[in-house]
Structures are given as C-alpha cells and as structure tokens.
C-alpha cells in the first residue's frame, strides 16, 4: 500500500514526472549559476570600464558615463542582476562590453568549435581508453598490463599545454603529417553555417574535401585532449572490468561453455559499462570546459579561449554567458548519463 502511495498521480507517466522534476531542478541550478557568477565577477577588484576603454577614452568623463549607461553599469548591483535575468528569460544573453556583439552570437561561434573538438577527443578516448582497459584487465598482472598502466599514468600527468606544443612540433613541424593551426586550411572557405560544426556542416553541404580538411585539422588537437581522458578511461575501465570478471554471472557464462568473445562482449563489457559511462560523462564535461590551453596552441577559437579572453578583459556579460553554457552542459550530461544507465542496466530501468 505504501508503495502505491509513492506512485505518480494517475495520468502522468513516471518518465514525464521524472523529466519534469529534472527540468525544474535544472532551472534552479541555472539560476544559482547566474547568481554565483554575477557575485564572483563583481567581487573582482577592478572596473570593467577601465578594461574596455582606451587610455584617453577612460580619462574622458563623458565617454565613461555613456559607456556605463550603455552597459547598465550605472545601476545598483541588484538592479543589474535582475535586469540581466529579465533579459535572460527572453533569450537575451546581453552584449559583450568588448566587441558590442550579442553574447549569444559569440557563443554560437565558440561553442560548436569546442563541441567538435571535445566530441573528437571523447571518441578517440573511448575507443582507445576502453580498449586498453579491457586488454589490461584480460592480461592482469602480465607485462602488458604493467605497460598499459604506466602509459596511462603518463597521459594523466603530462601538462596539456606542453603536450600540445610537443605534438604540434612533431606531427606538424617535423613530420609534416598533419596541418597547422585553425579549423580549416587558410585557403578554404567555411561551409554554410547550420550547426557550426565544420565536419557536420560540410557533410550537409556535400563538401567532401572540406569535410576531410576539417577532420584533418581536428586530429592533432583532439588527440592531445584525448591523452588525459585515455589515461583516465584506461585505468577506470581496467578496474571496472576486473570487478565483473570474477562475478558469478560471468563465471556462469563461462561454465555454460560460451565463447570468450561472447563472454567479454555480452557479459563483461556490458556489466562494466555503467561506471565507465559515468566517467565518460564527467570526462566529456571537463573536455568542454578545459580546452583553453589546447585551443590557444592550435588557434582553435572555442569556448575555452572565449572564457579566458572574457575573464581577462572583465567582459561581464560574456563571462555570465560562458558560466551558463558550462552549467547547462554539465547538468545536461549528467541527465544523459542517468538516462543511459536505464538502457544498459535493466535493474535501473525497473527502479
């Protein structure tokens, strides 16, 4: 009876109720993100007007006054915050104090660039990291296992900026195997904007050479970013797989005489996927918000570089916009990971 009381009201499917609750929580979290970002940026002991105006303009009271009025900086902080929220509810993320361009427009350029980079990196990481983790687990306590563990540790401990320059130096400068900086060759023209992902947009436009060029430019920075997550995933996959290797259902499968391939793919990997997917979600989030150094070296003008540039120039609307996007990404990823559990693990689905 008690269990029946906890059920959703008649007419509202459990999944819809779950989604509604998650969306409500997400909205509250977003509100929190805007508040914290606003407070933090205003705690910085500096004046955004000084950062935006040149030497002579900053010394002209009339220009300074006009700038403050245009940017809404002449109003008390609570008024500034609620004005921002009011605009936000109408889909307006404000205007950059540096470029006087809509923050939404600027994020619309920077975010897809980083998404493309992070997706490339996570794909490389997932294929190699889980593969190496599986190999190491199946060869536990052998020489191969030791080598993989050491190599994965290197991936985790090498600074990204140094590795980015080293990889650029070797594969672009010395070996000339891959192209240099940017997302496309300087002679190429970007494909018509649909998603902002050059790989996708070039395919949609049927520009195969541009697609190849975009992939070609993606390989090095995505690989550098992937090195860290490969290390993480290798170590995590290895331990997750080791845990299920001795599970009763795996031993049962072997006892039934199933082939090694079937046991590994249908029992071992599937059993270990839940924790691995959790790590993949976290790794993808960190990739999206942690690409700044690699973006700088490869002139990949994405979200990381936009965030860095906005922070150093005290571009408050841009900083707020980045905070919101990163917050939404993390919450969205957690949500996707939660849903993915249901597909992988029947016990989660039943619950």
């Amino acid at each position: 009876m008690k269990a029946e009381k906890r059920r959703a009201p008649a007419g509202i499917p459990p999944l819809a109720r779950y989604l509604a609750i998650r969306l409500g929580v997400t909205a509250l979290l977003m509100l929190g993100v805007t508040l914290v970002t606003f407070i933090l940026t205003n705690l910085v002991p500096a004046d955004p007007v000084q950062a935006a105006l040149g030497e002579q303009a900053a010394a002209n009271p009339e220009i300074v006054k006009q700038f403050r009025e245009n940017a809404g900086l002449d109003k008390p902080l609570p008024v500034q915050y609620f004005t921002y929220l009011g605009h936000l509810f109408q889909g307006d993320l404000g205007t950059s104090t540096q470029t006087r361009t809509s923050v939404a427009t600027e994020l619309g350029k920077a975010f897809p660039a980083t998404i493309e980079l992070a997706v490339g990196a996570i794909l490389i990481s997932a294929i190699i990291g889980i593969g190496l983790g599986l190999w190491a687990a199946l060869r536990q306590r052998t020489f191969v296992d030791q080598i993989i563990r050491v190599v994965s540790l290197i991936g985790l401990s090498v600074p990204a900026f140094w590795m980015a320059l080293l990889v650029y130096f070797i594969f672009f400068f010395q070996l000339k195997l891959f192209p240099g900086s940017g997302r496309l060759d300087p002679a190429a023209i970007a494909p018509p904007h649909v998603t902002g992902l050059y790989t996708v947009d070039s395919l949609l436009a049927g520009q195969w050479a541009t697609f190849g060029d975009a992939v070609y430019h993606l390989v090095l920075p995505a690989s550098v970013l992937a090195l860290y997550t490969i290390g993480l995933l290798t170590r995590f996959s290895r331990s997750a797989i080791l845990e299920v290797l001795d599970a009763d259902y795996v031993r049962g499968a072997r006892a039934k005489g199933l082939t090694g391939r079937t046991v590994v793919l249908k029992y071992v990997l599937r059993g270990a996927l839940v924790p691995i997917i959790t790590v993949l979600g976290i790794a993808f989030g960190s990739l999206l918000s942690g690409t700044v150094l690699v973006e700088k070296v490869y002139s990949w003008h994405g979200l990381g570089e936009y965030a860095f540039s906005s922070a150093t120039k005290l571009d408050l609307p841009a900083i707020m916009g980045v905070g919101l996007v990163v917050g939404i990404v993390y919450i969205g990823l957690n949500f996707i990971v939660d849903i993915a559990y249901g597909f992988i693990d029947p016990r989660v689905r039943a619950a």
């Binding site: 593969g131 992939v215 391939r261």
Partner: protein, 524 residues
C-alpha cells in the same frame, strides 16, 4: 574466428586508415570551397574588437582598417615625420588653428561611387559623435564642409599635431550613403557597426571577405582601388599565439608572423626565414609616485635620483633582444623631438648609492606594481621587472614585485595609487605633443602623483614645446623638456622593445609603420 580484442583492434585500424585516406585526399585540394588567386597568410596575436574603422583603436583593428579604408592624409612607408596627401591635400593657417583639406580627384569606393567631401565630413563627425575610443583624436575640433571639394578642421587652440593625427586608420573615410543605409549616424545612436563587421564600405586596397573577431579576418582585392594594386589577391589575417606563429612561419604554413618575442626570434634566426627587427613605437617606463601620501620614499628627490642612476639600461636593452633601444627621454626614437640615449639617464652605481644615502632611505621594501598577463611586442613585463629589481638591489634598494592581471591593476595605475609602476605607452599619434601627457597635471603625470604646478620648470618647457611651430623649434623644445624631465621628473624611460616581423623567403617586401603596424597591401 577473431578474438574480441583483435576484432576491436581491426575496427579501430580500419577507421584510422579511412580517416587518413579522406584527409590525405583533402590535403592541399582546391575544390569549390577553396578560393582562387594568389594569397598570403599573416599570423598575428589579436586584440581585435571591431572592423568599423571609426570605432577601432587597437593594434589589430588598425591593421584591418588600414587595409579597407583610406584616410585624408597618410604616411609613406615607415616615415612618420612627414604626413603626405591621401584622399586630400592640406594647408594649415599660420597659427595652426585651421586646416583646409582639398579632396583629390579620382578616388572611388569599392562599389564604384566617388569619394566626396560629404563622405569625409561624415566620417570625421562620426568618429566624434560615436564617443568611442578614437573620439579623442578629434576632440575640440570643428569639422565643416566649405565647398564641394573642401572641408576645414578648426581648433580653438593651435594644433600642429593635426596633420600627424589624420593618417590614423580610425579616421578612415567610409561611404556615407552605404553606412547611413545601414543605421549609421554621426551620433552615439550610430548602429552601423554590425554591418561594417560583415562588409566594408571603403576605398582601400582590400575589401572585407569575412570577419571573425576571435579567429581570422579575410580580405579580397578591391578592383576599384585607385592606388598601386596589392601583390596578393587575398590576405588571411589569423589570430595565432606567439609559439605557434613561430612554428607556422618556419613550416611555411604562414608567410608573415608579427608577434614573435626576442627568444623566439633568436631561435628562428638560422631558419629559412627573414627577420626584420627595428625599435617599436612603444616606450616602457617606470613611474615613481610623487604624492607623499602614497609614498614618502618615492616622493623623495634623492631617492628618485638613486633609482635613475641605479638602473643599468644596457642590461635591460640586452634582455629585450636585437632591435630594442634605450630612448633618451619619454619620446620614442621614431618621432620628432626624440633625443639620443646618451642624453638620457645613465647607469652610475656610485652616484646611486650617494643619492640613496642622502635620501635617508633605510632599506624599506618598495612595491613595484605591474601587469603580468600582457606582453609588449612579445616582451614580458615580468622579466623587465625582475631585471629592475635585481639591479636596484645592487645599489641597496629593496624592490618587492607585485604583479597582477592588467584588468585589476589598471584601476590603481590610472587612479595614481601605485608607489612604483612599470607600464608602457603606445602613442596615439606619431607626434611629440602626445607625450605632453607625461608632464605635471596631465594624464600620465597625475598617475605618478605629479600634480599641476609640481614642477614649474618642466611645465614651462612643456608650454614652450606646445607653442613651437616649425619642426626645428619643436625638436629643440621637446628635447629641452625631456632633459628636464630626466633630471627631476618621476618617469624613468627604460626601453623601446623591438618590433619583430618574420617573413618567409617568398616575401620580398613588407611595409611597416608605427601607426598601423603593417600595411597588408604592401606585402610583396
């Protein structure tokens, strides 16, 4: 049957081979998405904000505006001592208060319409009305059309610097009709910036193909340009950081690199590239606050003398690499009024120790503030600050370094709150009058606590320099002003860092200039 592991390895292998196959096919290909014509790639570290010429006032913005727009007057090559005709010729009246500009025949915008006096008047009034970063260039000036071919710029007080101000790319002439059709006005209600970030409306050697404030600006040749046609049909100006610029230029990925620091320039020296090093327009200086309420130590004249004599200027120049020089005063060596380094402050450890003893200084810590997240021509101010600290330690002065991000340090600097500051000055226009800001009661003077009337000798010399008319008179007046400042003023000019431009061997000429850094149309 393959084992699971071999199968996975096989799939990965096929994916890698397929990817490399596609990318190899695409490498160097020129399908419909690639543009034709002769093109050049220029790598630069951007500080770009806009492609609207009348709003830009940044280094990259000037490069962009110079390529897209023409100005009423201009400079030839890197000679900024003599303004020459651009879209107009000029005459100044005897007391330098009225400049009459006569429009030249034959100039046309990229849409084919002629450049008229109305376009010129609108553009200059737009700079004033927008109230943006470059508005101060025309502060106190009345712009008026006086005939179908002439306009006048009238100043309330003599303004001999005006011919040196007009070549600034921020004063580029825009197509009035096109800009007005797209929301442009000569007031702060102007709304044409978004349009001008997508298309140019000028008469310069290039037109805007694409503009991305963060990544790159692409230019295509303007077929209607009436000057010498540029050598390249297409220019790609890319935002690339210094270390990557170095590898790109060495590998032939780019043909011009603008922001290599002294160490990087030294490293590429033996490569198959050409290095052009010359003193830049920037002047790096120390300021010692003269306001006793900020610091009783730095406002002591003997302490000031000790600092000036305690610094080994040659060591700082060595630190900054080839092409760097010590300016004799606060005016860089490129401009009228500059004095030789031999007339500047000199290192004399014994004199520094004697002055320090007279000052009553007892070894207290003295804070040196500076921004540590910016570089000047690739030179880190942190390295200059450390060098100053080490040198002053040798004569007995204890400097404590206080680095901070520029955004947070600017308030203290501009508010005159720093005890000792390490900063740089980039000229707003190549005329010595711009450096009157370093005199008592003026913009930078106040930042050093040097109030109006604090030094009547320097103020009198500044007034004399302001009143001087001929080039010779101005040269000697500004020289006398700087020598007086070196003797008693709170500023210690340290260094003019080098402007390093590295080009591939395929480039036979580049046209550099202290106002717009590089003329993209001058790359050959």
């Amino acid at each position: 049957m393959l084992s699971p592991l071999r199968r996975i390895v096989g799939i990965v292998g096929i994916a890698v081979v397929a990817t490399l196959g596609i990318t190899a096919c695409s490498a160097g290909s020129s399908d419909s998405s690639s543009s034709g014509g002769k093109s050049v790639v220029v790598d630069s570290s951007f500080d770009l904000k806009t492609a609207d010429p009348n709003r830009e006032y940044e280094t990259t913005g000037s490069i962009v505006a110079k390529a897209l727009y023409e100005t009423l007057l201009t400079f030839k090559g890197d000679d900024v001592t003599k303004p020459i005709d651009g879209l107009a010729s000029y005459e100044m009246n005897a007391d330098n208060t009225v400049m009459t500009l006569t429009m030249a025949d034959g100039h046309v915008f990229s849409d084919g319409s002629p450049v008229t006096v109305d376009d010129a008047v609108f553009s200059l009034q737009r700079v004033q009305g927008i109230k943006g970063n470059p508005s101060f260039l025309l502060e106190g000036i009345t712009v008026a059309k006086t005939s179908d071919t002439t306009l006048t710029l009238t100043s309330a007080t003599p303004n001999p610097a005006l011919p040196y101000i007009l070549p600034n790319p921020a004063l580029g002439v825009v197509n009035k009709k096109v800009v007005e059709e797209n929301g442009g006005t000569a007031t702060d209600a102007d709304g044409a910036e978004a349009y001008l970030n997508g298309a140019s409306a000028g008469s310069g050697p290039y037109m805007l193909e694409s503009f991305d404030v963060a990544s790159q600006v692409v230019f295509t040749k303007n077929p209607k340009y009436t000057g010498d046609a540029p050598a390249y049909d297409r220019v790609v100006l890319r935002n690339v950081q210094g270390p990557t610029q170095k590898l790109n230029i060495q590998a032939g990925e780019s043909q011009v690199a603008l922001d290599l620091n002294p160490d990087q320039v030294a490293e590429v020296g033996s490569s198959d590239v050409t290095v052009l090093s010359s003193p830049s327009r920037y002047m790096i200086f120390l300021l010692l606050n003269q306001d006793p309420s900020v610091s009783a130590i730095t406002s002591n004249p003997d302490f000031l003398k000790a600092v000036k004599a305690g610094i080994d200027y040659n060591k700082i120049v060595d630190l900054a690499g080839d092409g760097s020089v010590q300016p004799g005063g606060f005016i860089p060596s490129l401009f009228v009024g500059a004095i030789d380094a031999s007339d500047g402050n000199q290192h004399d450890a014994a004199a520094a120790k004697a002055a320090l003893a007279s000052s009553g200084y007892k070894g207290e810590d003295v804070t040196l503030n500076f921004p540590n997240d910016i570089t000047v021509q690739g030179l880190s101010l942190q390295s200059v600050a450390e060098s100053v600290q080490a040198q002053l330690k040798e004569v007995g002065i204890n400097i404590v370094l206080a680095p901070a991000p520029v955004a947070t340090e600017l308030d203290a600097y501009r508010g005159g709150k720093e005890t000792v500051g390490l900063w740089y000055w980039g000229p707003d226009f190549p005329d010595p009058s711009n450096y009157l800001a370093f005199t008592p009661g003026e913009l930078v003077g106040l930042r050093a606590g040097w109030a109006a009337g604090a030094d009547s000798t320097v103020t009198d010399l500044a007034n004399a320099a302001k009143a001087a008319v001929s080039t010779d008179e101005r040269q000697s007046a500004y020289a006398a002003l700087q020598k007086a400042q070196n003797a008693s003023g709170p500023f210690v000019p340290l260094l003019q860092p080098a402007q390093n431009v590295v080009t591939s061997k395929s480039i036979t000429a580049v046209s550099l200039n202290p106002v717009w850094t590089i003329d993209l149309a001058g790359i050959k």
